[in-house]
Each structure stands twice: as structure tokens, then as C-alpha cells.
């Protein structure tokens, strides 16, 4: 417990002497990954605005450093579970944007044959056990995956991403308790973007967030979720800790969603100010922050950054096209896949 306490106070996350630094190529790769997510989400927003996309979607824009920083610390065979705001996690874990768009558009080529849509997007081969439309439910499934990994001695780790709203669900405490008792290889990643839908999290969350997992004997670290380097180094350390059998860890990431709770949430002033939005998107943007640092380090310049962005943009553009062109599932699929 003393160790946890200390850990929860660490906020830098940058490597200590024991840790091997990440090389510049990898940071550039992470920049690309973050940009792909942003680009993907901007397309989603457009698809919605143009009434091409059915239903709703919850955009991850602003939070990209978390999914990327964490997933880059995972192996392909490791597991993640995700949330209603799940496109970023899915891409970061390695899914292809074309099949993702197909899913979001309800097409047969989608990861779930169009049956899941945005809120249930998954990448079954890539270790993404799925987004979930029940707040908190992914934490249960991820804990089960970690349990399974431990039983099978597979050396896999599970990561559960969730918003701070999931702290309201009792399930989370039940599974954190068991994860701690049984030293399961799991990392709980809490994305605190300050709002549960339209309600500020301070109105819904008593005490200190980091004290909650700590009370269950779980190692906690709190980081700036906009700084992909901090997120990544800290995640590496915690994932290593979990994989080594020391038990679960909890990574609290402070972040912000730039857009509405979902694509249709346009008038937001009754719950948050335009100034606050502007502050985060200009001063605290994870892409800008990494680009600036890379430039300072001499590892990138405008042309390198532009090149990455151009390529990623083209890829996403092609993926949207693929999704739009893809056919709908055959009506007879409607009662297939209910049972194995």
C-alpha cells in the first residue's frame, strides 16, 4: 500500500534510469496513430452531419494520446475492452479503418458484419474484445480476460479503457477487488474527460478518484492524458508490473473531449464553456504537444509531420469510401449468429 501511495503521486511518467527510452521512430509512429484517429473521427462527424451514418457516435477527438500511449505498450495478443467512445481504442489496437467504417455504416464488411455498429465495434483478431454500450461493463469483461490469461498462463495482459463516469458503476469495484485478490494481469485505464455525458464529474464523484482503486490494494498512477509520452512510459511500467504477476494497476488519465458527448450534442454551453473547450484544444492538444516536442528534439519538422498527416488522411479517405461502397448484409443474416 505504501508503494501504491507513492506511485499515485508520481505525475511525470517519464522514464527513470531503469527504463529504456523510446526511440524517435516510435514517437513518429505514435504521432501517426493519433492523427489517424483524429482523421477517422472527423470523417465520422461528417458522415453524421451528411446523414450518411445511421444512429449516433461518440468522438474520441482530444483523447488520442491515451489510446495510443497505452496500446503501443501492448502486444497484439494482449486484450483490450472499450466503451461507447471506442473508435480510438480500436484503431490504436491495430484495427483497419476500412472495416471500421463499414461497421459504423452497418455494412457486411464491418468487423461485426454490421450488427454491432459504433457502440459494439470490436477487432476479434487484434485483441479488442469490443466496445460496450453499458457503462462500466467492459471492466468486467477485461477482468475476465485477465483471469483467463492467468489461468492459461498465456502471459497476456488485459487493458480496460473507461470514462470517469464508469466510476459510478458498482461493478467496477467488484471486479477491482477480485483482480487485486487474485493478482490478475490487468490495467484499468480511466479517461477522465471531466463529464459524464452532460454532467460535470465533480457532481457525480465524491472524494479522490485515485483513492478508490488504491483502497482495493491496486497500484495507481495519475498522468496528464494529453501527453502521449507520459502516458506511454507510465503504461509500459504498469503493464510490465501486471504482466510480471504483481497484480492489477490503475492509470488515471486527465483529458478532454473536444466535441459533444455524441455527434449530435452541438449546443454545450449549458454544461461547459467555450473558453474551457478552447483552452484544451489550443493549449493541451496531444497532437500539437507531441509535434512540438519532436520538432524541439530535431526528430521532425513541418514537412515530416505534413507527410505523415497526408498519408494518414489519404488512408482514412479511402477507408470511408470503402465503407460507403460496401454492401449491406443480406436480410437473411438477421437471425444468423444468435447462437454458435
Amino acid at each position: 500500500m505504501a508503494a501504491n501511495k507513492e506511485a499515485s503521486l508520481s505525475t511525470s511518467g517519464l522514464p527513470g534510469q531503469a527504463e529504456s527510452p523510446v526511440d524517435m521512430e516510435e514517437w513518429l509512429h505514435m504521432y501517426r496513430q493519433m492523427f489517424r484517429i483524429r482523421s477517422f473521427e472527423e470523417q465520422v462527424n461528417q458522415l453524421y452531419t451528411k446523414a450518411i451514418m445511421p444512429g449516433l457516435a461518440h468522438l474520441y477527438i482530444g483523447e488520442e494520446a491515451i489510446a495510443v500511449g497505452v496500446c503501443e505498450a501492448l502486444n497484439k495478443t494482449d486484450y483490450i475492452t472499450s466503451t461507447h467512445r471506442g473508435h480510438g481504442h480500436c484503431l490504436a489496437k491495430g484495427a483497419s479503418p476500412d472495416r471500421m467504417f463499414a461497421e459504423l455504416l452497418g455494412k457486411d464488411a464491418g468487423y461485426c458484419r454490421g450488427k454491432g455498429g459504433s457502440m459494439h465495434i470490436a477487432d476479434q483478431e487484434g485483441g479488442n474484445l469490443g466496445a460496450n454500450a453499458i457503462v462500466g461493463a467492459g471492466a468486467g469483461i477485461a477482468t475476465g480476460a485477465a483471469f483467463s490469461a492467468k489461468m492459461r498462463k498465456s502471459d497476456q495482459v488485459a487493458v480496460s479503457f473507461f470514462g470517469e463516469g464508469a466510476l459510478g458503476q458498482g461493478l467496477l469495484y467488484e471486479v477491482m477487488n477480485m483482480a487485486s485478490l487474485w493478482k490478475l494481469p490487468i490495467l484499468y485505464v480511466c479517461e477522465n474527460n471531466l463529464y459524464n455525458e452532460y454532467t460535470p464529474y465533480k457532481q457525480t464523484t465524491a472524494g479522490e478518484i485515485s483513492a478508490r482503486p488504491a483502497a482495493f490494494g491496486i497500484r495507481v498512477e495519475e498522468v496528464d492524458g494529453q501527453d502521449v509520452r507520459t502516458v506511454h512510459y507510465t503504461a509500459r511500467r504498469l503493464i510490465e508490473y501486471a504482466r510480471a504477476g504483481h497484480g492489477p494497476a490503475f492509470l488515471l488519465c486527465n483529458t478532454y473531449r473536444y466535441h459533444g458527448h455524441h455527434v449530435g450534442d452541438i449546443n454545450r454551453t449549458y454544461y461547459r464553456s467555450k473558453e474551457e473547450e478552447l483552452h484544451w484544444s489550443t493549449e493541451r492538444d496531444p497532437l500539437k504537444m507531441l509535434a512540438t516536442w519532436l520538432t524541439e528534439q530535431g526528430a521532425a519538422d513541418d514537412s515530416i509531420i505534413n507527410q505523415i498527416e497526408k498519408e494518414a488522411h489519404a488512408e482514412i479517405q479511402a477507408a470511408v469510401e470503402f465503407g460507403i461502397q460496401a454492401p449491406y448484409p443480406d436480410p437473411k443474416e438477421v437471425d444468423e449468429h444468435v447462437y454458435a
Binding site: L56, K115, G117
Partner: protein, 352 residues
């Protein structure tokens, strides 16, 4: 998406054949959402013990905007935003109801009933009986049902069969703005736990609703359209599907009677049975999963009560027994439509 179930008339002008007290108040055309809001506002003005609790109910007025404005009148002490803790705030509601309050608990999506069945079915429903009648639990759980919103399997279910199964609960599911207002006011004044379902697709449906007091007694079905050849029993938004089918049937000379039970418990068995005895044919249309649900219950009530009068087996049309798919190409296939009901009715009347 052309088969969207809310090809329901924008204005629902359906008869109110029985049950309601006569009133001579001014009627206006308002939406279902407005009717719900009006019922809540009136009851909160009337009775200081009534309060609303749930996620994003205050300033946001729920994601469906149904409660918009209530917090301005009643303040955040009576329109209370909660954490995302459905079991927790339902439990708080139960404890508050036992000790003198009359909570209206907002469960955003009916799918989240899965999280709250202990509070609803093991606590609220049983406390009166377990205490030998000493406690009462006057609480309303307001929630939603209904598919075709492209919200996929965990945000589209119609789980009203579950609470209907449980003694101690009452279950109401209005189809029109008029019924929404009248049933909700009755629910709030009932001394028992009531689970009250609104179809998310109907919030913008309009209908005539009187200003001020209307109370619709529970257990009184409403004949939304009279007919002689076949009985269509339909719940919630399936009433519009049934009315649409009735229009089509009329064109081929079949006169359909459309009955809305309005409350599943108490259930107005007699009205259902009488109609089926008269028409000798019946179809039950409900948006819950077909198996082990509402259609089975209503069909067997009719098959039993009208046994000697039926010319054909009672037909059941529920939602297809599959988790609700996201893809529009699939989702619309899972819910009864005016067309599928029309075809079924035609066949049942021997006109294939």
C-alpha cells in the same frame, strides 16, 4: 429505412372508447414528450413529495430532452442528477419511497433495467408483502423501450415482460400523448411501484391532450379503433403499427378492432376477451422479444377466455427473437410493421 416503425401518424388521433372520466377541458395538440413533462410538472406542483432522480435529468433534461425545463421550475433539489449508478439510485428511490417520498426514477434506456432488477423486483415489488402490508413503496420507474433507432442490441430492447412477470409491480406503457399524461399521473399517485415505459420513437408523436387533470385508471384497456372482423391487441408504439394495418385491412373490406391494454398489470382481460369473442380472430402485437414475453401471456389469456368463439389460433407478433442488430438493413426486419401485420391478419381471415 423506409419501414421505420414510426411511420405512425405525426398526430395520433385515436378514440378513447372507455375508461376515462368525462372532462370538458381544453385540448391541445402536444407531443408525447410534452405530455410526459406536463404530467410531471403538475404532479410536482400538487405534491411536494414527488421528485425526479436519474442521469442527466436536470439541466440536460435527459438525452431525449423530455424533462427540459423542469429543473428551472423545481430546482436541483427536486430534479436530481445522479452518478451513472442505476442500482444505487433505484435503491435510494426505494428507501425514500418507504419513508414518505414519492420518487420518479429515470432509467434512461430500458436496457439498463438489467442493472436494477434487484431494486425493482426483489425490493420495491416485495417490501409491502414481506412486511405484511406495513410498508408501502410509492415509486415510479420511468424508462424507455423500442427499436429502429439504430442504437444496436444494448440500447433498443423492450424488456417490459420482465417486470410484468413480477407480483407487486404494476406496468404501464402508453401509446398516445393523452395516455402518457393520464397514466403517468395515475402512476405517481399509486401507492405501489409502477414501471412506466415510453417508446423512444414516439416522443415527437403528437396528439390531443387536455390541460390539467386527467387520470387514467390502471387496468382499463382502450379501444383505439372499433371493428368486427379481427382483434388487434397492440402495446405502446405497436398501436400505430396496428392502426396502419387496420387502414390497409379496411381497403380490402376487413374491419379490424385495435385494442391497447395500456397497463400490462393490472390487465384488462375482459376487454381483450370480449373483443376476441366478437371478432373470433386475434393478433397480439408487441415489441418485446416474442418468446416467453407479453405476446404469450396475452395470447393465452384470449385463447382461454374466448376458446369457444375463436375461428383461428391467436397469432403472436413480437420482436424477432434476436439481439437487435445495428444495421438498418437488418434492424427494421426485427419489428412488426403495418405491412407484416396486415399480411398476417389477411391470412388469419382466410384471405391469402
Amino acid at each position: 429505412m423506409s419501414t421505420h416503425k414510426t411511420s405512425a401518424p405525426a398526430t395520433a388521433r385515436v378514440s378513447r372508447a372507455n375508461g376515462e372520466p368525462v372532462h370538458n377541458k381544453a385540448e391541445r395538440e402536444i407531443t408525447m414528450a410534452q405530455a410526459v413533462r406536463e404530467a410531471l410538472a403538475e404532479e410536482m406542483r400538487r405534491d411536494p413529495r414527488v421528485f425526479i432522480m436519474g442521469e442527466d435529468v436536470a439541466e440536460a433534461g435527459t438525452p431525449f430532452k423530455v424533462l427540459l425545463g423542469l429543473v428551472d421550475e423545481f430546482g436541483t433539489d427536486r430534479v436530481i442528477d445522479t452518478p451513472i449508478s442505476e442500482p444505487g439510485f433505484c435503491a435510494i428511490g426505494v428507501g425514500a419511497a418507504m419513508t414518505g417520498m414519492r420518487p420518479v426514477i429515470d432509467i434512461m434506456f430500458g436496457d439498463f433495467l438489467t442493472l436494477t432488477m434487484d431494486q425493482i423486483a426483489n425490493q420495491a415489488a416485495k417490501i409491502r408483502y414481506m412486511s405484511g402490508g406495513k410498508f408501502k413503496v410509492p415509486i415510479v420507474f420511468r424508462t424507455t423501450l423500442g427499436a429502429t433507432r439504430r442504437s444496436a442490441a444494448q440500447h433498443s430492447q423492450s424488456l417490459h415482460a420482465w417486470p410484468s412477470h413480477v407480483p407487486g409491480l404494476k406496468v404501464a406503457l402508453p401509446s398516445t400523448p393523452y395516455d402518457a399524461k393520464g397514466l403517468l399521473k395515475t402512476a405517481i399517485r399509486d401507492d405501489n411501484p409502477v414501471v412506466y415505459f415510453e417508446d423512444k420513437m414516439n416522443f415527437q408523436t403528437k396528439g390531443l391532450v387536455p390541460e390539467g387533470e386527467i387520470l387514467i385508471p390502471f387496468g382499463v384497456a382502450d379501444i383505439k379503433r372499433s371493428g368486427t372482423d379481427i382483434t388487434l391487441v397492440a402495446t405502446s408504439s405497436m398501436v400505430y403499427v396496428a392502426l396502419g394495418a387496420a387502414d390497409k385491412l379496411k381497403e380490402i373490406g376487413i374491419s379490424a378492432e385495435v385494442i391497447d391494454p395500456r397497463t400490462l398489470f393490472p390487465l384488462d382481460k375482459q376487454t381483450l376477451i370480449d373483443s376476441a369473442r366478437k371478432t373470433s380472430r386475434a393478433i397480439i402485437i408487441d415489441e418485446g422479444y416474442e418468446r416467453y414475453g407479453v405476446t404469450g401471456e396475452l395470447a393465452s389469456v384470449i385463447a382461454d377466455g374466448a376458446f369457444y368463439y375463436l375461428d383461428a389460433p391467436v397469432k403472436r407478433m413480437g420482436a424477432m427473437d434476436v439481439p437487435i442488430p445495428f444495421s438498418p438493413a437488418l434492424e427494421d426486419l426485427t419489428v412488426p410493421t403495418a405491412e407484416t401485420v396486415f399480411q398476417a391478419a389477411k391470412t388469419l381471415c382466410g384471405r391469402s
